[in-house]
Structures are given as structure tokens and as C-alpha cells.
Symmetry: C2
Subunit: 302 residues, 2 copies
């Protein structure tokens, strides 16, 4: 079975501010055989762009490295201005296992790419999220704290020796964070109430941090235009905390307030398995094997 | 977007009865670039085998033709014995649109292949199911009635001129039926009752032929080993009659008898869309776009 990994590198440049450098990155991404550029987001005020690429691990790893090289040749962080926190020309490279691949394999890939970035480009790298070498490096915000301008000093602190490289930033490309994590599904559930407190209470009950589902992050928000409250979630491991766990628990908790679910939103891309598992649950399918019975997996595996 | 078609040709030979001819077909199927042989079923008492292939229309059409040629060179219908009704060395070739393809496009493909089989192999062809040229040819059993031995006379009857070819069978390869249909999902729902009559009544209520869902075929059967009744269905157009229509209607009808659904079975392959649509229904997903948001479609479309 073919393994597919997703990679979502973030670069400190935008089409709006430096079209030439931005285009060089796009051209670079499109030049790697076997790596598919699904999406490019660019934001002028952030002066930052985000690529979404998929393919086999070897090709996607190659693409991540080549993009990092291209960014180091085209972006000068000493001149970078933008609203979004950043510490490198290539700011962050997350790898996400998408098909027939474990998060451990994605961690291994992130380490290989980080090592190569240091050895061939002399850009120091931190490992983060599931690839992190110690707990305080799991959270990207902690790793990036101080940003490009603060990194020369930060790297000299006892706890902040890079995972790959010397305690000295690349003069123009800074520092890069490379990591791995499970696919994240952005899943929001809308309630037939305008009482934000109800959504807040439900969010608190279902999120892992306060005793709910381990791989669910949740907050209550108001959809002002519709005047309804929403439980807004990031499902950070849909295999271990499926979408229907959250949906059914929200339904149960809402009923206590006489409130009902009126709809949900799934934002952006998600693996078919996350939806197929829900269908199998609600249809009470016995012995359903997603990978064997869903035709599309056979098409991908060829 | 890439188009993918499935083809499930049936040949009048089995590994058990004639291993050499059977293997020639397998080798032929595996030799066509861009056509993937997913599955081969062979049955000695039927003396028949069924191939499941997928790929782009052009390659799968080529494979179907080459297999038909191979069968005509390796199978002599004047010597064929088997329990399953059959009329040709290649008995039947159905094309099923699987991805980014309409059933009309599959009909077009079936006509091209049938025409080529006649022109290059001199095997007369009937079109059937959605490709049928007249109502009495929709049903394969009607087309095949009389079988190989009766075909010489049948082709001379006023109503049974082949769609492609003369009114004369190929001396050893007989006649072939070529057609197109939507993917079929075999979907069975198990009830917590041992009363077959209840499953029969529900099946009658939900099937199109007696006034239920147009694209649902259903019968009641007993699962003797579990002593429970089952509504056994073929969902012949999951886009127009989704699986959850049937499931929810069965649940409602069963409740009238104080009976509940205890599980379901999905047999064999089905398109991801058939499951994703169910998930979107039960999760009340607003504005969910299966083809854009499910990652795997992007992998296939590259």
C-alpha cells in the first residue's frame, strides 16, 4: 500500500509584498515530481504564505527541503516585516500522515528533513509537536517565542540548543521548526441558541484539557450574523476521538439546556476515513473495513 | 479531474476447469497499462470467472477489448459446460462510472467497445442495462435467454438482431452483452426479530418496484445462523437514493412492529461518496463538498 504524507510549510513571504520570491517558491513546489501542490495561501499583512502539498514521503520530503533552500535564497529575514510571529525564511514545516502511514513515520521523516536542512543549508532546526525532543518544544509558540530578532540570544540559553545545528542562526534565513502531527479536522457544531454560555459550557465539557475527549480541543463562539452559538473544535486525532463522539456528546449535553444541534461545519480538507467512520457508526455497519471496501483506496494504492 | 471507470467482465471459463485459458485472461488483464485488476473470482461448478478492473476509460476499454479477444482465442463455447447461464466466451461486460464520470459516458464507452468487438473479432454484441437500445434488452437475463446453444435461432428472430454485428453467432465465442450501469451498493439491515414476515413487509415497502425508493431493490431474508430477519438490498443509484434513506425508512417501519435495527452489512466495494454522504447527513454538515473536502479525491485527481 502506498504511503501518502501531507506537508504544510509556512514561508515568511507573500505574493503581495514580494511577488518574485513568492513565485520562486510556487515554481519550486511544482517542479518536484510526485509531489502535488494542492493549495497556496498568501497574506500580505502577515507577509507569509502557506503551501499544502501531498505525495509519497520521499518526494514530499524532497520538496520540503528544496522549498527551504529556495526560501533561504530568496528571503532575507533581516528585512522581513509582517504581523504573524516568525523566526525563519521557512518558518515551520509540519508533516501529517495522510494514508497508510503512522505519525511515528512522519516523525522520522521530519527528523531526516531537519537534519538535511542543517547539513546542506546551515539553518538550525527545532523539532516540535509529535517530533519534539522535550516537552517544552511540543508547542510551536514556545519554540518560536522571541521570533527571528530574539533567536540569536535564545539559542544561547541552556534549554534552547537546536535539535540540529549550532547555537547560531542562519544570518538571513533564521531558524526553522520541523515537526509531525496527526491530521486535524476543524469541526464546528451549531446550536439553536443565542446563549454563548451554553456553547462555552459544552466546549469545556468535551475538550480533553478539562476532562473531556483527549484529542478534542473546543471553545464556544458566537456566529454573530446568524445569532447562534457554536461549539468550535479541532479534532486532533480523528482515529482515537472520532467526530461522532463529539457530535453525540454535544447533542446529549445540549439537551440538558433544552437546546438542539441545528447543523455542523467541516472546514477544509479531511481524510475520507474520518467521514466513513461516522457513516459506519450511524448505519451500525458490522465488520466494515474502510480501507478494503472503499473503492478510492484501491485507486490510490495503485 | 481524472475519470475512473470500473469494468466487471464475466468469462465462460474457470481456473478449476481450464487453468491455461484462465491464466491467459489474468495475464492479459495485468498487461494493460493504466488498468488495475482489483479482483478475480473463479467458480468451477459455474465454469465461469469474474474480473474487477478499474482505471481511466480509455485504458479500461482497451483492457475489456483485449480480454474479449483473449477469451475468443482460448475458449470454445461448443465445449463449455457450467451451471451458470451464458451465451459467449466473454459473456457480459458491464462498465460502471466510479469517479468524475456520468453513466451516460459509461454508455458511450460500452458502445465503442461493443462496436470494436464486432468489427475486429466478428463477435455480435447486444447492449444492455443503461446502454440498451430498447426496453426488452435492459434486463441481461432476457438478452441471454436461450444461452449459447439457442443463440443461432434467437438472432434470426425479428426482435433480436444484435446491436452490433450480423444475425449469426461467432462459431466458438458466441455472443457478448456489453452495458453500463451505476455502481451498485449491496446494503443489508439486520432486525432484532426472527419473524421473516416483518423483513418481507419492510422490504416491500421500501423497494421501488412496489412504490418505495426508486433506486432500491429489497427482499426479506432469514439469517439462519443468527436467527434474525434481514432486509437485503441492492442500492442501484446511491446518489439518487442514498443509503440513509433506506436505513431511516427501515427504522421507522420496524418501529411499528416494536422491532429495532441491530446492525447492517455493506458487502464488497463502494464509492467513498456513498458513505461520506451518510456522514454528512447524520452530522448535519452544512455546505459540505465531498469532492473538494475529502483529501483522497485530490490524490486520485493528480
Amino acid at each position: 500500500m502506498v504511503k501518502i504524507v501531507e506537508c504544510i510549510p509556512n514561508f515568511s513571504v507573500s505574493r503581495e509584498v514580494d511577488e518574485k520570491a513568492f513565485q520562486a517558491l510556487v515554481d519550486c513546489a511544482e517542479s518536484i515530481p510526485g509531489c502535488t501542490l494542492l493549495d497556496v495561501q498568501t497574506d500580505g499583512s502577515h507577509n507569509r504564505c502557506v503551501f499544502t502539498m501531498v505525495g509519497k514521503p520521499e518526494q514530499v520530503g524532497e520538496a520540503a527541503f528544496q522549498l527551504c533552500k529556495c526560501a533561504s535564497e530568496n528571503i532575507d529575514m533581516t528585512k522581513h516585516v509582517g504581523q504573524h510571529p516568525r523566526m525563519g525564511a521557512t518558518d515551520v514545516i509540519p508533516f501529517v500522515p495522510t494514508l497508510n502511514m503512522t505519525v511515528e513515520e512522519a516523525v522520522e521523516l521530519s527528523k531526516q528533513v531537519a537534519e538535511r536542512i542543517w547539513k546542506e543549508l546551515s539553518i538550525p532546526c527545532f523539532l516540535y509537536e509529535d517530533a519534539a525532543s522535550r516537552p517544552e518544544r511540543v508547542n510551536l509558540a514556545s519554540v518560536r517565542k522571541g521570533q527571528f530578532e530574539g533567536m540569536p540570544d535564545k539559542l544561547l540559553e541552556e534549554d534552547w540548543e537546536p535539535d540540529y545545528g549550532e547555537r547560531k542562526i542562519h544570518p538571513t534565513a533564521g531558524v526553522t521548526a520541523v515537526g509531525a502531527r496527526m491530521p486535524l479536522v476543524a469541526f464546528n457544531v451549531n446550536l439553536n441558541t443565542s446563549d454563548l454560555k451554553i456553547a462555552d459550557e459544552i466546549a469545556k465539557a468535551i475538550r480533553g484539557s478539562s476532562g473531556g475527549f483527549k484529542y478534542c480541543k473546543a471553545i464556544g463562539i458566537m456566529l454573530e450574523d446568524r445569532n447562534i452559538a457554536q461549539v468550535s473544535m479541532n479534532m486532533v486525532n480523528y482515529q482515537k476521538t472520532p467526530l461522532y463522539y463529539a457530535y453525540e456528546m454535544i447533542r446529549t449535553l445540549a439537551s440538558r439546556y433544552g437546546v438542539e444541534i441545528i447543523g455542523s461545519e467541516i472546514v477544509g480538507l479531511l481524510p475520507a476515513e474520518a467521514m466513513v467512520d461516522c457513516a459506519a457508526f450511524y448505519l451500525r455497519a458490522e465488520n466494515f473495513d474502510c480501507k478494503k471496501q472503499v473503492m478510492e483506496y484501491h485507486l490510490i494504492n495503485e
